[in-house]
Symmetry: C2
Subunit: 220 residues, 2 copies
DNA sequence: TATATTTGTTAGGTAAGTCTAACTTTTATA
DNA sequence: TATAAAAGTTAGACTTACCTAACAAATATA
């Protein structure tokens, strides 16, 4: 049985491994920052997780989840994303409100609850941010990871997910009426600053920054 | 902000105050037993709760919730019973499975969640065991507290709630096809051992014990 | 490559919530 | 009412998860 805190460390490690596509290892400081604790605290926990065979690492080395650790991390991520979907779809929470509450709900222990919730929601494949929800067997639905910024002038993309899930970005998206499924046409690329002129569905044209375009995933 | 543990103590005290209708005070041992901790632990926590003005008590004296403590306890009870209702009604949990999971869910911090959940469930007044769900303002829906054992021969009662929520009893009720709303007619009272012959809806007559009849609330 | 910077570890400490064992107060009963 | 039993408290210890400060190793850079 894992403690609340241990679960959080495993999830953090899993998330970091997704972020660094090529090298799935994480560092102590990186991990501590992600969890909002001091590096010394992370070192302590790492020893504990190693003891329990959930991570492999040695002093001053990189941290890697074991199969067991990864399995546990995925279970927590599954719960997190299912709860986010529940809050968004059934209880009318907004895009930027779901995360905080799901952070708590993901720790509820009841395999039956998770699977019943999954069923109740109709076995969704993606959460409200477009992130894939791990299935009961641990598989992750895959999706095209094209960024809006990778499109060329004239191309149209349908929003599939957000890369940045910060409140500021999510609220900005809501203001622009962009949600999962929205079609965006790239009209012009501005070489000077990397910004681009786009058309969101049938709304008037507007310009968005390079940072913005690098935070949205689309499907061509 | 209350800790997970503090919340549990407040809820326990509230429950004990309901049990002892006439004298709402509780004792240290009683409270410890209810929470599954040793009396020494309860004493420690009591000091802390007193410090926070959530209970009034003095050494070797009886424990009483303050208004503030009661308010907090009711909030937790409200969450507990709403979640039980959710699990039972929406996720097909059985009568005896809801409690354990609701014990965890009741600690999720999000006023918005509670109220949205309440709305989603259609503002239910009673939980799956027939216990009243405190409203957002703290009010408790009231109901007739007649026990099946108080009926006389010939009278019929409609089940409104269970007094005993043990797994054994709940599973027995399920076996007998008794649920909230079921009509039970008392056919005969056996003075010898307090047992009674009853008819459950249209099922064949059967005999139940005094203990059984003292664990079911009905409405005449 | 020597040194400065970054990254990670160790040692020692704190707070919450739990325990056991010994003690004190209150209550029940002979 | 004296005493035995029950109820409640205190002291000291443990575990988990966190911290700060000092130190050690690894990496980057002059």
């Amino acid at each position: 049985m894992l403690s609340y805190t241990e679960e959080n460390y495993l999830k953090a490690l899993l998330m970091l491994s997704f972020q660094n596509e090529t090298r799935p290892e994480a560092g102590t400081n990186e991990m501590a920052a992600h969890l909002g604790v001091k590096p010394a605290t992370a070192t302590d926990m790492l020893k504990k997780l190693k003891e329990k065979n959930l991570v492999t690492y040695q002093k001053y080395g990189k941290i890697l989840l074991t199969e067991e650790g990864k399995k546990n991390g995925i279970t927590i991520l599954r719960k997190h994303r299912l709860w986010e979907t529940f809050l968004y779809e059934k209880l009318d929470f907004s895009w930027d409100e779901v995360h905080e509450v799901a952070e708590q709900l993901e720790h509820i222990q009841s395999p039956k609850l998770v699977n019943k919730l999954d069923e109740f929601l109709g076995f969704p494949e993606f959460d409200p941010h477009g992130d894939p929800i791990p299935k009961a067997n641990g598989e992750m639905p895959s999706f095209e990871k094209t960024l809006l910024s990778e499109l060329t002038a004239g191309e149209t993309g349908k929003v599939t997910a957000v890369k940045d899930t910060s409140t500021l970005f999510l609220q900005y998206l809501e203001k622009l009426n962009i949600t999962i499924g929205t079609n965006i046409k790239v009209l012009e690329l501005i070489d000077f600053d990397g910004s681009l002129n786009i058309q969101i569905e049938n709304a008037p044209n507007r310009s968005v920054s390079m940072k913005f375009a690098g935070s949205l995933y689309v499907k061509r």
